[in-house]
Symmetry: C2
Subunit: 317 residues, 2 copies
C-alpha cells in the first residue's frame, strides 16, 4: 500500500470501504452513506469519549446543523474561511418561475437564477450555535460553564477524493467558557485524555501545534499568529494520505467569541472560551485503516475498550 | 389557553419551552437549540419506535443531511416543492472578492453576489439518499429491502412562529422497497403500530388521508390525485395550533423512486416503495404539551413506556 501515490491510496481505501458496506457512494465527493458496522464503531467511540469526560459533569444541549446567517457574520467566520462556508438558498418566486425552475432542473440545466439567499447557513463548527445561546442566559455562573455538544453535523465546502475529508461530518465537541486560566487547564486535561483515548484504541496519534486553513494571502499572517500564541493543537493519525490527518483539535479562542456574542463572566468581564473536537468519521476511518475492515478481527484490547463487557457481547460484531 | 388566538398560543408555548430550558432561541424562526431533558425525551421516543419495529429486522444505514443536487433534480422534488428546497451556495473567488465579502458580512450588508451554487443540497426527507444507494447495489433480493434510517435531520425552508414547525428537524424514517403488495401490507402494519405507540404515550392521535404541500396552481391537482389514490396518510396531534399538527406520515410512492433511480426487483421489474416517518421534535413537543413541562410529573403509564424499567431508574428524570 505504501508504494501507491496518495490519490491511488485514497481511491483504493474508498473502494475497500464500499466493498465492505461501510460507505455508500452518493455520486458526489465527500458525501457518503454509512453502513451499520461503521455506525456501530462511530457510536462506540463516541460513548468512549462520553465515559472519559463524565467527570466534567457537562451540560449537554443539542443544536441543529443550521444557524442564522447573522451568527456566522458576527462570529467573523467569513473573514477567515469564506471558501468553506455553506449558505442556504431557496425559491421564493411564483408559478411561472417555478415551472421554469422545474424544467431546467429536470434537464440538468442551471436553475440558480430562480434562487435567493435565505437567513440560514450551515454550522461550520459544532460550537458556533452555543455561544449566542449562552450569552442569552445572562452572565455565567462562577467557574463558567462546560458544554458537551455530542456528535454534531458540521459542513465544509471542500469536495475531495480523500474519504477522510467529508463535506458533512460529525464533530464530537466540548466547550468551556469562563476565565482564561481555567480554560487552559481544561484544554491540557483533555489533551492528556485524548492521548490516552487514542492509545487505548490502538491509534498512533501525534500531537502538534497547528493552524486553521485561513483564506488567501492575509490568511498566512493569521495562521502564523495562531501558532505563535499556541492557540490550536491537533492530534494527527495516518489514514489514507501521505501526511497524517488531523482527527482532533484543541482550540483556545481567547475573548473572540465572548466578545463577538457578549458572553459575560459572573463579574461582568468578557468571557474566554475554548473548544475541542473529535472528528468521528475520521477516527472511525482511522480505526478501519489501522485494524482492518472486519471488526471481529480487531485486537482484543481495542475491542474491549470500544465494547466494554457491560454493554453485552451480542453487540461485539 | 384555548381562548388565545393561534399565534398567541404558539408564542406562549415557545416562551414556556425557553423558560424550562427545553428550547434555546437562535434569533431565527424555526431554529432552536434543545436542552438535555428535551433530548432525553426525544431519544427515548426514538428508542421506543426501535423496539416496536425490531421484528422487521431492518438494515440500518445512515446518511448525512446533504445530497448531490443531481439527486434532488432526478427525484422530481423541484417540480413539487421548490419553495421548500435548500441549495448550498459557497464562495469560490479570489482575495479581493473575499475581502469585500467579509466587509459586507461584518456590516450586515448583502454579500450574495460573491456566492455561487455548489453541487450539494439539503436532504428534504430522510429517505431521499437511500434510493440511489439501493439502486447502486443492483437488483433487490427476493422480498425486497427494509431500511431503518434512524433519526435523520431534514431541511424545509419554512420559517414559522409555530415552535412545532422547524426549519431543520429529525425525521425518524423507515423505508420499504419491493413489490407493491408487500409494501402496502407493511404500511398497514406500521399504521397500526403507530396508533399503539401514540396511545401508549398518552397522545390523542387521529389518522387521516392527507396530501403534501405541493407548490402553486398545479399543486392542487397533484394533491387531489394523491388523495384519490390514498398515497399518503398522516397521524395528527394537537400541539400549539388551532388545527392538529401532523406528527407522522405513511407514504406509498408507487414506482416514483424506483423509476427515477432505476431500482430493480430481483426479476428486473421496477421496484415500488413506501416510507413512513415520525417527526421526533414534533412528537416531543406534543408530549410536553399534553403532559406538562416537568417530565417527573408525567403520567406513570407514559413514563413506563418511554423509560422501561430495564433502562435504569436513574435516568427517569
Amino acid at each position: 500500500m505504501t508504494a501507491v501515490t496518495g490519490t491511488n491510496t485514497q481511491q483504493q481505501f474508498l473502494d475497500e470501504l464500499v466493498q465492505h458496506g461501510h460507505f455508500f457512494p452518493s455520486g458526489e465527493k465527500g458525501v457518503y452513506g454509512r453502513g451499520m458496522i461503521f455506525e456501530e464503531v462511530r457510536n462506540r467511540f463516541d460513548e468512549f469519549v462520553t465515559r472519559v469526560g463524565a467527570d466534567d459533569k457537562p451540560e449537554r444541549p443539542r443544536f441543529p446543523p443550521i444557524i442564522p446567517r447573522r451568527t456566522l457574520e458576527k462570529a467573523g467566520y467569513l473573514k477567515s474561511f469564506p471558501q468553506l462556508c455553506g449558505v442556504i438558498y431557496s425559491f421564493a418566486g411564483k408559478d411561472a418561475a417555478a415551472l421554469d425552475l422545474a424544467e431546467r432542473a429536470a434537464q440538468g440545466q442551471d436553475w440558480s437564477m430562480h434562487l435567493s439567499m435565505t437567513d440560514v447557513v450551515m454550522v461550520p463548527a459544532a460550537c458556533y450555535p452555543a455561544y449566542p445561546a449562552m450569552a442569552l442566559r445572562g452572565p455565567l455562573p462562577k467557574g463558567g460553564v462546560t458544554l458537551d455538544l455530542g456528535g454534531s453535523y458540521v459542513f465544509r465546502n471542500e469536495p475531495s477524493g480523500d474519504p477522510a475529508r467529508l463535506q458533512m461530518f460529525h464533530q464530537r465537541e466540548m466547550v468551556r467558557i469562563g476565565e482564561a486560566e481555567d480554560i487552559l487547564a481544561w484544554r491540557e486535561t483533555w489533551m492528556a485524555r485524548a492521548k490516552n483515548i487514542f492509545e487505548q484504541c490502538g491509534l498512533n496519534a501525534s500531537f502538534d501545534l497547528a493552524s486553521d486553513p485561513f483564506f488567501g494571502r492575509g490568511g498566512k499572517l493569521m495562521a502564523n499568529n495562531q501558532r505563535q500564541q499556541s492557540l490550536k493543537f491537533e492530534a494527527l493519525v495516518s489514514i489514507a494520505s501521505a501526511e497524517p490527518t488531523a482527527v482532533s483539535s484543541f482550540n483556545f479562542h481567547q475573548e473572540h467569541f465572548g466578545s463577538a456574542f457578549g458572553i459575560q463572566l459572573h463579574d461582568g468581564a468578557v468571557a474566554n472560551s475554548a473548544c475541542l473536537g473529535f472528528g468521528l468519521e475520521r477516527i472511525t476511518l482511522a480505526l478501519f485503516r489501522a485494524h482492518g475492515m472486519d471488526i471481529a478481527a480487531w485486537p482484543e484490547a481495542v475491542r474491549n475498550c470500544l465494547w466494554p463487557s457491560s454493554t453485552g457481547s451480542a453487540r461485539q460484531g
